[in-house]
């Protein structure tokens, strides 16, 4: 079956962001397809490449990146939510006159159209929020 995931939850304040990762991993192991993962609200914070958690904590960013690379996943970050929280790609960094872009490799900034398309194109859509 074709799934899309919407991740609202911040990677730092609750368990939900890691539940989303575990769910995505399990979906793929069970032979399902992930059409898109859409990060929205505080969920976008996981796409900041400057994240450097302590060594004894799980690094969700690298976990997502590895999963995406292995399975060629489409990780889309809501552009408005991201820019507001200081997660910028090269274009946005230039547009807002910021020194550095910090969108992590494997993620892409885009708009709600991508979310609407994912909802229309998937058999199942699941939201992870907190």
């Amino acid at each position: 079956m074709k799934f899309s995931l919407i991740v609202h939850a911040s990677p730092f304040s609750a368990q939900t962001s890691s539940t989303a990762y575990r769910y995505a991993k399990c979906l793929l192991e069970e032979g399902h397809q992930i059409f898109r993962i859409f990060y929205y609200g505080d969920g976008v914070l996981v796409a900041n490449q400057q994240i450097a958690p302590p060594q004894d904590e799980t690094n969700l960013l690298t976990s997502w990146q590895l999963l995406a690379k292995t399975h060629n996943l489409d990780l889309v970050v809501c552009i408005a939510a991201a820019v507001k929280r200081g997660v910028l790609d090269d274009n946005e960094a230039q547009r807002y006159d910021k020194k550095n872009a910090n969108l992590a490799l494997g993620f892409e900034l885009s708009g709600l159209g991508q979310l609407a398309e994912a909802i229309a194109a998937s058999d199942r859509v699941i939201t992870f929020g907190n």
Binding site: T16, C26, E30
Partner: protein
């Protein structure tokens, strides 16, 4: 048929009431994260109006274990692992998350 996934403790009563009010026959409830506390015997009054044949009740195994609740769950709840979560998602045509 809808799968309702809830992740907050039973203290979030209005969240539970909103979910319970929206149930239809054949729906299922899955407790994840802190919501697994709702599967304790002490909180079963929350679900007393539901007929067990009508609404399937389950809780996520990893979250139960993380909280040491393995032997304390009400028999109305079955424990499902991550594969079970995926299976429930496939068996229901909509998934609604309550948080």
């Amino acid at each position: 048929m809808t799968l309702h996934v809830i992740n907050k403790t039973p203290q979030n009563k209005s969240l539970y009431l909103n979910m319970l009010n929206g149930l239809s026959s054949g729906d299922a409830i899955l407790l994840i994260e802190d919501a697994v506390y709702s599967a304790l015997e002490a909180h079963q009054s929350l679900f007393k109006a539901l007929s067990p044949d009508d609404i399937q009740l389950s809780a996520l195994e990893a979250d139960i274990q993380a909280r040491g609740l393995e032997d304390k769950l009400s028999p109305r709840f079955s424990s499902v692992n991550d594969q079970g979560f995926v299976k429930l998602s496939c068996e229901h045509d909509k998934i609604v998350s309550w948080y």
